[in-house]
Amino acid sequence: MRGQNALADLLTQLCPMHLILDEEGVIRDVGPTLQKLRPDAPMQGRLFLDVFDLTRPRSVTRFSNLLAEPGVKLNVVFRDTPYTALKGQLVVTPDGVVVALSFGISLLEAVRDYALTSADFAATDLAIELLYLVEAKSAAMEASRQLNQRLQAARISAEEQAFTDTLTGLKNRRAMDHVLARKSGVGLYYSVMHIDLDFFKQVNDTLGHAAGDYVLQQVARVLVEETRSEDAVARVGGDEFVVVFDNLTDRPRLRRIAQRLIQRLEQPMQFRGRPCAISASIGIAPSVEQPDCAPAELLRRADLALYAAKRAGRATLRFFDPHGSAAEVETAPTARMGPAPSGGEMRGR
């Protein structure tokens, strides 16, 4: 008995969540912190397996089986609420069966559920350090999360405000709208050219998006080279481009520019050694031919002309014709050796 008292005193200091059991599994001594978890239900005198449900080792159903495995690691759960999980170790000594318990990962809930203080833990227990670390890390995480949120918001607003198409470096649709908005004065001389690539989908589908992106970049380069610095060149959709020609409404000149564009875009491009053949359909609407026409309307008319060009066969250009049917269709001189066959060839691969 003296031995058991000395053992209990020692464990109370070093392991305030201990139990001392007799060989029948009856609880003879309870550590103060462990008893604090069930302040109204003294554990002394009760069976260990009545208070706790053994979750590991699973195979054990009777207390006597545990004694056969000295030093065994235990996972237990209280049989009543709160169902706090504890981990522990069982050691058989001459003065009784000692079960040393600790919270493990359930510590966070336990300090909240049982209003524990640092005095409830042994001086060597890392519980307080763990709690500190969880709080400190949570605070640091929260600061990082806020930073990420602000960066994300800044990124979205920057993208919304951007005027540049990141793939091609051309203006984007938003920038084009701004350019056109400045043309809303009456009697300004300018033209809107709407360009839509032909056979681009085949390039994308057969050679992949990287090839498609490469083609779009080459198209952008051609558009910039074939226009003047005062003209605005924009990519307004997947393979759609708009050029606004400043102070230029002369049909023959616009026609020459459009023909040259089609011609140059039909020149074979190579992506990683494989040919990407495309062409373009073009619709043109000069401002002087439609007096009092708002920029948005002019853009719509260029779009109608483009639609007519597409319908008339690819690699063609068309001016907007207010009288509809008598639209002027022009086929670029090189269109007869257009890329349709090579497009078919690519599909064959």
């Binding site: 966070l108 336990a110 300090v111 909240r112 559920d113 209003a115 524990l116 203080t117 640092s118 005095a119 307080i128 709690l131 500190y132 670390l133 709080e135 400190a136 890390k137 949570s138 605070a139 640091a140 600061a143 990082s144 806020q146 930073l147 602000r150």
Partner: protein, 195 residues
């Protein structure tokens, strides 16, 4: 300087003197922005410029302002998380003092690139302690004065503090503990995480 340090100064100025004065300070310091990010690192010169501008704005000496900053960090509800982290240092004010040696390591455990100056507490007997604040963060000793004072209130202890000047870049604070349980102090609930 770590954004957490800059952010602490910003939070102190805004919650003590108002956002308008903080905006003045950032303009006078030529920051070009008025929100420090806690998790970014800034040029040390920016922190210096902010502190200079702040002292000019308040017409007060730097050590006084920094001590107020230390008090703010422990006592203001906006930074309750920090007070809680400090209270993990121990059950009593003396335990807290003894835990200060670990403070820079604890800080680094939470935020790996936050480097605080070394702290060393020397027990002189009869309730007298000397806290040596190592070099690396000029004015840190003054901030610690404020923290020690506010933490004494937090634990309900009665102490006298003296800044004993600068010895080779090491700031020394003399702490005289007059009464451990002078007042009730504030409650520290381990399980109540500060939001």
């Amino acid at each position: 300087m770590h954004g957490l340090v800059n952010g602490a100064i910003q939070s102190f100025v805004i919650n003590t003197y108002g956002r308008k004065r903080w905006t003045h300070v950032t303009e006078a310091a030529g920051l070009g922005f008025c929100e420090f990010e806690a998790m970014l690192t800034y040029d040390d010169a920016l922190t210096e410029a902010v502190l200079d501008a702040l002292c000019a704005e308040l017409c007060r000496a730097r050590d006084e302002v920094l001590e107020d900053l230390g008090t703010y960090l422990v006592s203001h509800p906006a930074v309750e998380a920090l007070r809680r982290l400090l209270r993990f240092g121990g059950e009593t004010y003396v335990e807290f003092l003894l835990s200060l040696d670990d403070l820079p390591d604890r800080a680094r455990l939470a935020v790996s690139d936050l480097h605080l100056p070394a702290l060393e507490l020397r027990e002189q007997g009869a309730g007298r302690y000397e806290l040596c604040c190592g070099p690396g963060l000029p004015g840190f000793g003054s901030v610690m004065m404020g923290i020690l004072r506010a933490m004494a209130d937090d634990y309900g202890a009665l102490v006298m503090l003296d800044h004993d000047g600068n010895r080779d870049g090491v700031e020394v604070i003399v702490i005289t503990l007059i009464e451990v349980a002078f007042a009730k102090g504030r409650v520290f609930d381990l399980g109540a995480r500060a939001g």
